[in-house]
Symmetry: C2
Subunit: 552 residues, 2 copies
């Protein structure tokens, strides 16, 4: 295997642990806090988690390790999309496990949660761990999207654990995966399997965040990578002075990624899905909002700009959301066959026109033809529109173009408008973790082992005070049920970790709101540049603007 110079040197990086975990395993003791209750729907959640509900928050501190001596066989699982730092969670877990007892074993279940139910695993040893320290990706054992949520799966999981002698499972995943971790922990406890379950908060989307979890890992590195590229594109726009760049960024429903990139780069426009929903904005209102910036800049001689579009925004436009629902119904089941047989787009268009309500047809009619076709041609196995595949960066630039054509006729726009499009996502999910993510993840993994050693289950590994230097970080654990409420999912009430959307009264959005009108008109671009792993602390150790503002 040929290693890049950076990879060779990153192997030598020693991640920083929270101060309280720096004294060696023998000098880590537990301080229990108050009993917890879920953020909402306490009675319902308590009833669903009789064995794991209401446990105490705990933190670790310096003191004699009083945990029972026990050989541990820990299984680790990577769940869902990769996030920078996953390998460090595993190496932190491994180091604590081996420091505690050289006989302890770390099993890696391969290809995601299905690795557990398929009993597909590998023993992780020094050589393997050392080849992945401080690197990006989830390739050490692979990841997958299978959800562990049925009784049948839990039963198989219990059998696999028994066969392998597994004493604990660490699940590294997002909100859904950690919800499932809590359910699995409850199952294991209810059935006296003796297997503990600990979760670790992963997602570049930043939507696994609450009063206990300051941020999910990977968000820092991914947003720094996107911000590097957005900054570069901004400089390009300001050099050639002839294009508007529409840049869609990953992040699923929430706009945390888009907002963080906007705080880092100060683009002309950044849509925030949560605001679009709150204000019930129409496509036309959004297009006009962007067009206002284009016009104001054109008047100042600047026929260029940058607009950030969060991946999920179209779902938050009420009229568009209704349109999608109508299309899904229009083509449900066998109705799709009839549609697919229609020979030309013209025939299909007529079919659509007949099938939609007037309101939705009005929305459909203003879409560019390429987007209209995307709605019908690319559907998932259930026949539903794949909203995530809609090229919303092209959608909005086309709508803005139409608005500007109107304004040109009216004489209210005399500039030029040329658009280029980008989608940033896969480029940032597997970057070498920033120093912050390398440290944070290593600490989460190390800490996860401490929770295991002290016998906790159904807990999320928790490291907080993250806006401070690592020395001052606080390591501990929080019952996952504490973060849960009941939500309606697919027609059923389900206990889930509340997904964190951007709060419109939160400091990050408020800061953005206070500045965006200036950014929309002026060229106030900031250029973060590539992630630095070496050099001055200010350059290579700072975490996100979002966290800094939240902790101000």
């Amino acid at each position: 295997m040929k290693l890049s110079p950076l990879q060779k040197f990153r192997y030598q990086y020693v991640p920083k642990l929270p101060g309280m975990l720096r004294n060696g395993i023998a000098e880590i003791c537990v301080k229990e806090g108050a009993e917890t209750s879920s953020v909402r729907d306490q009675e319902k959640i308590k009833a669903l988690f009789p064995n794991t509900y209401g446990k105490k928050e705990i933190i670790f501190q310096k003191g004699e390790n009083t945990s029972a001596a026990k050989k541990q066989v820990v299984g680790v699982i990577l769940s869902g999309g990769p996030a920078p730092g996953g390998h460090n969670v595993i190496s932190g877990l491994y180091d604590a496990l081996k420091a505690s007892n050289k006989e302890n074993i770390l099993l890696g279940f391969k290809g995601g949660p299905s690795g557990l139910t398929n009993d597909n695993c590998v023993i992780l040893d020094d050589a393997t761990i050392d080849a992945y320290r401080n690197t990006g990706g989830f390739d050490i054992i692979g990841s997958g999207r299978t959800k562990l949520e049925t009784e049948e799966q839990f039963k198989i999981a219990a059998e696999v654990c028994k066969k392998r002698g597994v004493t604990a499972i660490v699940i590294i995943g997002g909100d859904d995966s950690n919800t499932n971790a809590a359910v699995l922990a409850e199952y294991f406890a209810a059935n006296n399997t003796g297997v503990q379950v600990i979760g670790c908060p992963k997602t570049i989307d930043g939507d696994l965040k609450n009063e206990d979890i300051e941020c999910s890992f990977g968000f820092d590195t991914a947003t720094k990578t996107y911000s590097e590229l957005i900054g570069n594109i901004q400089r390009d726009a300001n050099s050639g002075k002839k294009y508007w760049h529409f840049i869609k960024v990953m992040g699923r429903s929430a706009s945390h990624v888009a907002l963080e990139c906007a705080l880092e780069c100060q683009p002309n426009i950044c849509l925030i899905s949560e605001e679009v929903a709150e204000k019930k904005m129409s496509l036309s209102q959004i297009a006009n909002y962007i067009a206002d910036s284009v016009c104001a800049r054109a008047e100042r001689g600047m026929n260029f700009g940058v607009a950030i579009i969060p991946e999920g925004v179209v779902e938050f436009v009420p009229e568009f959301s209704v349109l999608i629902q109508e299309i899904n119904e229009l083509l449900a089941g066998s109705k799709a066959d009839k549609f697919n047989e229609l020979p030309s787009w013209k025939d299909k268009y007529e079919f659509i026109e007949k099938g939609l309500t007037n309101e939705s047809m009005a929305v459909f009619a203003i879409l560019p033809e390429a987007i209209q076709q995307q709605l019908f041609l690319e559907r998932d196995p259930h026949g539903n529109v794949q909203v995530s595949l809609i090229e919303s960066e092209k959608l909005f630039s086309a709508l803005v173009k139409d608005v500007l054509a109107e304004r040109k006729k009216n004489g209210t726009f005399n500039g030029k408008f040329g658009a280029l499009h980008h989608f940033l996502g896969y480029e940032g999910r597997c970057a070498f973790p920033s120093n912050f993510d390398a440290d944070y993840c290593y600490s989460l993994g190390y800490n996860a082992f401490m929770l295991i050693q002290y016998g906790y289950t159904g807990y999320l590994s928790k490291v907080s005070n993250l806006s401070k230097p690592a020395e001052e970080w606080v390591a501990g654990g929080m019952p996952i049920t504490k973060m849960m409420n009941i939500e309606r999912r697919h027609g059923h009430d389900k206990p889930v970790i509340r997904k964190a959307l951007v709060e419109l009264d939160g400091k990050p959005f408020k800061y953005f709101q206070a500045n965006r009108d200036t950014w929309a008109v002026e060229t106030a671009y900031t250029f973060p540049g590539a992630i630095q792993y070496y050099g001055p602390a200010e350059v290579c150790d700072l975490t996100t603007r979002t966290l800094a503002l939240e902790k101000e």
Copy 2:
């Protein structure tokens, strides 16, 4: 203006000059070499450049500065697409100019070559230069694509120079811009204007390269940025193990960028346009070549991979090139109107079917509909197909999908194939220059001033021995006419700098060729990571694999 932490710290970076330029302006003397002659078509080129042809190559060395004392007013122009390091060319030029005489003036002509003919300029002072040191982009004065090539433009340029007291012009640009610089130099000399012209070799495409110019500036930083992202995408592919990523990279006709990224990242596939042309490959052959890798990897259980597609490749596929020519003729002039009036794509398709030869229609018929439409819907102001807008990454993945569907029927493919698409270009043209580009560009600019001070015109600023530490670099100048030959352009013989394509018998391609069969089947990915500006020299100071292999 809000500065990122990196930008603040990059201001403090002191670019490294070649050893021979480190003794101060007063200690730089000229060593003239032999007279030069153009690489081909010597008589014709000599006849076209009677005043500037055949001059001597020169290098600088330590010794008493013997140049005539003269107040210099230098105008600088950024031409064409931005490349990382342009600001450092200007700051190197500025520092040498001011070190020589504080009364010297540096004028920046704004928005590219048209800034000269429009007399649109600004005096560059300490505050301005300091705000742009070691930063990416061409935003200090903007860039543009106007070509200075007509007698009329030269006349105006001469008038502007006279009015402003300009003694020399520095043109920072690619092969065409430097060709034009040579023609302008000849005009100025022939008309006794006393204005010198010096060029600097810029382009991320890497196609301005020859026995004198080891590489153009910006290529290092841009390819490092693309390689960072390709490496990240490779790790993502290897984490989720379910997608083939088709990644188009900028670079215009030449495949230097694609090849360098392949050498850095070791992807499964990298097309090289020059090889496609040499072997006269058809679209179907290329699709089968990629499909072979998909199948071989699927057999080993790896339904994922990464393929790099050079921007210009479709132009090098002979049958595709003929198709484009036929389409251009089919829609020339008023014929396009008739076509545009046809109501549906079906009607248009019939029109196309009638208009193309059978051979070209066969090629057209296998293209995915979206690409077929791109060929007709997006044409330039002259009605020609815009080849650069063709989404060739989607074209090839669609063709591969078709091949695999056939093979599945035949039972020769049993894997899965899901494709994702990327285009990397604007993301890398304005990155903070790598230490290499920061040093190289600063040296080019400093050196350009030395050429001016010693009275040279029609020269390219030349810094060589670049695979060695900066201390050992050799600074000097080469007559641009030396790099010229006669080529047929738009029906006329024109003297031009020969564009450098990838040499199929060169060491970089040979290395790639020797390894690619392994890379196609195995997962031999390398992960370069983000450009580092600080840290170990091996991590932050190495230039491209291409140059290292060429200089082996």
